[in-house]
Amino acid sequence: MKTRLALAACLAMTALAPLAAHHSFAAEFDDTKPVKMTGVIKKVEWTNPHIWFYLDVKNADGTVTTWGFAGGAPGQLMRRGIVKDQLKLGETVVVEGFRAKDGSNNASGGRVTFPDGRNVLTAGAQDRTPGEAR
């Protein structure tokens, strides 16, 4: 229980902590187009300058689209307690962010919510975060 509480506290702190990234959110993502998607984690790229993770998202017509989400830099996330293993392949998660400006199926990956309700802020610092006033 103590471990769970500690983990929850750690994740809550992580959610509040600003993270840095190399890019300007404004160059790549459109803060007028928030997205919130549920899907299965297909692939994780724990790479610089930003982590990318990919979700298979089921469409209304039953087809599946793979969406890419950009987060913060790996070092920044790791120093704040988020490690690659937390994004488990095959797990269903909810991701909130903002859609890519080029209209492709990519978005900023601002917040990830896990099946047990825990959530982490995976956004870069310059990113608009879900729910933030514009």
Binding site: H23, N48, P49
Partner: protein, 263 residues
Amino acid sequence: MSLKRTIHLAVLALSTVCAYGVVTSAQNTAAPAVPRTADGKPDFTGTYQWPTYLQGDERGRSSATVFDRKRFAPLKPGGEAFLEPRTGVPRHDEPRDFCLPAGFPGGMLSGNAMQFFQTKTYLVMVHEFQRMTRIIPLDGRPHRKGLEPMYYGDSVGKWEGDTLVIDSVNFNRWALDDFYYTNSKEYRMHSDALHTIERLKWKGKDTLSYELTIDDPKIFTAPWSQEFQIVAKPEWDAAGLYEYVCEDNNRCPGGKCGDEEKK
């Protein structure tokens, strides 16, 4: 350098020395022992958080630290180029989006860990962001001559008592700080005449005072300064700095993400 600017710099240096004298005399009994190298100089070797704000200073919206506009000296006629508007051309507006260097001082203020290594001859400052490395000679040598302007300038250090004074010149015209992440209308571009003075000293058991003076005679009527703090993070020593290779997976340069990376 004009007589006026020389006087400004002299006054600035004198006021800093005086302020330091007052503070040190007031804190003589309480001040913790400064870590020192074998030759008796203050030792800055260690792992640190990036320079962060003192209480009351204006903050930007990202974790990178930005300068407080109330510190700025007035702009000179023609200095309006400092607040250069965005052009809509991504390579100009967001050069780091293409993995171009952050430069100094902007990169130094970026929100990532730093590690310093000090010998008698050099202070090496390594910043996790873009693995920025500054090698600062401490042996009294002059600035190098005949080099092209650089993103990080040419730096030399000297000791003034327990304060390390780092003087840097020979910069490219480049973004001064990260304020454009806060306000897209304020893209603060220093000129190629930028001259910076950093004053680094131990302020407390785990805190350095880091004062940055911006002397840009093409932009400002006088040099101006802002003090930041640099907090030691010995708990980050074990993990050390993480690798940062921007070119590794920079998927959306200029906002062009595409869909080809998902297989």
